[in-house]
């Protein structure tokens, strides 16, 4: 474990060094990424400006949901490049290169690149979150602060798990993987709004199958001290971000299963 972290740190340094070779371009890209992702929030602002309210939710409260899920997604996104390329590695046979190294495959694949320019989205999420926290007037307590970090951490695990699952699918087929974007990019868009505005079947999908609501909506209800429109017990709101961690563990097992398939078919 310690040695794994040390090895990842080495990968990280190399990846950063490589990106610094193109410093100017990377700073431009990061700024571009900041504005591109900020557009999503401007879209939300346009709608609130036109309609006033979303059920009984105001823009500030939605901004809290938006900021936390965006930060979780952005952190996972900096790690996702190698997983995203997994289909390409499998197609070209480059994946074999990972198999001949005496290290965990996931460590090596995630180590392929730490994508610095995706910090653009992270800054944007922090920016929106800061605005929400300043305007919202939340009654802070230590458990609430911890819950906030738990929520972002759980969300990061959930998204990393989704990227791993996408990579896993590529052991069977390398075509049409864009569909997984429904759960990643679509998931972020979904979680930016309160879960209660969606249809029941849709809510259930994002609570029980891909537990997005557990890492964002439920804990934020506690932080905002709002009643739960879905009527789940309060203790569940406090523990629900753990679902993201469980999801990540499940995805790692699936990935191992996928590798076994790859090594018996070589496809």
């Amino acid at each position: 474990m310690i040695s794994g972290l040390r090895c990842y740190w080495k990968y990280l340094k190399i990846s950063l060094k490589g990106q610094m070779e193109y410093r100017g371009s990377f700073i431009l890209q990061m700024i571009g990424h900041f504005f591109l992702t900020l557009l999503d929030f401007l879209g939300i602002w346009v709608l609130f400006n036109q309609f006033g309210k979303l059920k009984d939710w105001g823009l500030e409260e939605v901004a809290l949901l938006y900021g936390t899920i965006t930060i979780a997604f952005a952190i996972s996104d900096t790690l996702s490049r190698g997983l995203d390329y997994c289909a390409e590695y499998v197609r070209t046979g480059e994946f074999d290169r990972f198999l001949i190294r005496p290290r965990s495959l996931l460590l090596q694949i995630i180590g392929v690149e730490f994508t610095l320019r995706r910090f653009g989205r992270l800054f944007q999420g922090l920016f929106v979150l800061a605005w929400a926290l300043i305007t919202l007037n939340i009654h802070w307590s230590l458990p609430k602060v911890l819950l906030m970090f738990f929520s972002i951490g759980g969300g990061t695990c959930l998204f990393v798990g989704l990227w791993i699952m996408q990579a896993t699918i590529s052991f069977w087929t390398v075509q049409g993987l864009e569909v997984v974007n429904i759960t990643t990019y679509g998931g972020v868009e979904t979680a930016q709004y309160p879960m209660s505005i969606y249809e029941k079947w849709f809510q259930n999908f994002f609570i029980f199958i891909i537990p997005l609501a557990c890492v964002n909506f439920f804990p934020m209800l506690e932080i905002l001290e709002r009643p739960d429109p879905l009527a789940f017990p309060a203790w569940m709101h406090w523990v629900s971000p753990a679902a993201g961690i469980l999801f990540l563990i499940a995805s790692i097992f699936l990935f191992r299963f996928g590798v076994r398939h790859y090594r018996s078919t070589g496809s």
Binding site: V46, Q175, E178
Partner: protein
């Protein structure tokens, strides 16, 4: 005309190879369409203000936007992008063809062929399957008048022509500027924010809405969507299509001039 026709045919054939991408695109577009519907229906449910689009018009606008997704000029032709990156573009510049016309034909194919593959299943889903699944309120409805239907048809043709113009214009800018990433992400931001795919343009504050009239991006998606849903009606239909036509002419003329200048620069440097 013959070389352009041959090019168009080759392009059509190769684009038909991307069937899996079309299936994936279908699911993605349907999913995003449904999320946006649920979000906007909730907004409509809560408001007492007067809104520029009715709920029914909004539903039509969103579905049509998802159907037209592939004509949006998010990226330049990947083939041309690769050529610019590895320098092979020099060969394109010295061909005995009008560079703008050559790239424009390619771009029209790039923007119009995928829509054939995507539109049919999307329309079946949005117009016929949703009512059968018990959600007639989510379904794509026929245009309110015959004029709206016909107007949308014409407007769609011009939308493809505007989109192809923007695509080629961006390719030329990519050739002109040193920082390519800048051009690429800037184009993405403009298309995402200003065509109506992110949020229907009628919902924007008036100040911004008036500004959009001075940019070609509305013509790619917002105009056909508004004509179809009926929020642009009567003689405004003709006026709006005329405006699209103006943007086509504008992009073609400035693009041709830019292409000529760039070709000259390359020939002057000796290729």
């Amino acid at each position: 005309m013959r070389p352009y026709k041959a090019l168009l045919l080759v392009k059509v054939k190769s684009l038909f190879q991307y069937r899996t991408a079309a299936v994936a695109g279908f699911f993605t577009q349907t999913f995003f369409g449904i999320i946006r519907l649920m979000i906007l229906i909730s907004f409509f449910g809560a408001t007492r203000q007067s809104i520029p689009l009715s709920l029914a018009q909004t539903v039509n606008y969103i579905w049509l936007g998802q159907i037209l997704f592939t004509i949006l000029p998010f990226r330049i032709d990947p083939e041309i992008a690769t050529m610019i990156r590895n320098g092979n573009v020099a060969y394109e510049l010295v061909r005995p063809l009008n560079l703008f016309a050559y790239w424009y034909v390619k771009a029209v194919a790039l923007r119009s062929i995928p829509i054939v593959l995507r539109a049919v299943p999307m329309i079946i889903m949005a117009a016929f399957l949703l009512p059968l699944l018990g959600r007639p309120d989510w379904a794509l409805q026929p245009p309110p008048t015959l004029a709206a239907g016909i107007g949308m048809g014409f407007s769609l043709i011009f939308a493809i022509l505007v989109s192809a113009g923007i695509t080629v214009f961006a390719s030329l800018l990519l050739l002109l500027f040193i920082s390519q990433d800048g051009v690429v992400s800037f184009l993405y931001v403009l298309v995402w924010g200003l065509t109506g795919i992110l949020v229907p343009l009628p919902f924007f504050p008036d100040v911004l809405k008036n500004m959009f009239y001075f940019l070609p991006f509305r013509g790619v998606m917002d105009v056909p969507c508004q004509i179809y849903s009926g929020s642009i009606h009567g003689t405004s239909i003709i006026y709006e299509i005329g405006l699209q036509a103006f943007w086509v002419v504008f992009l073609v003329i400035t693009g041709t001039l830019l292409a000529k200048a760039l070709t000259k620069r390359v020939t002057a440097q000796g290729g």
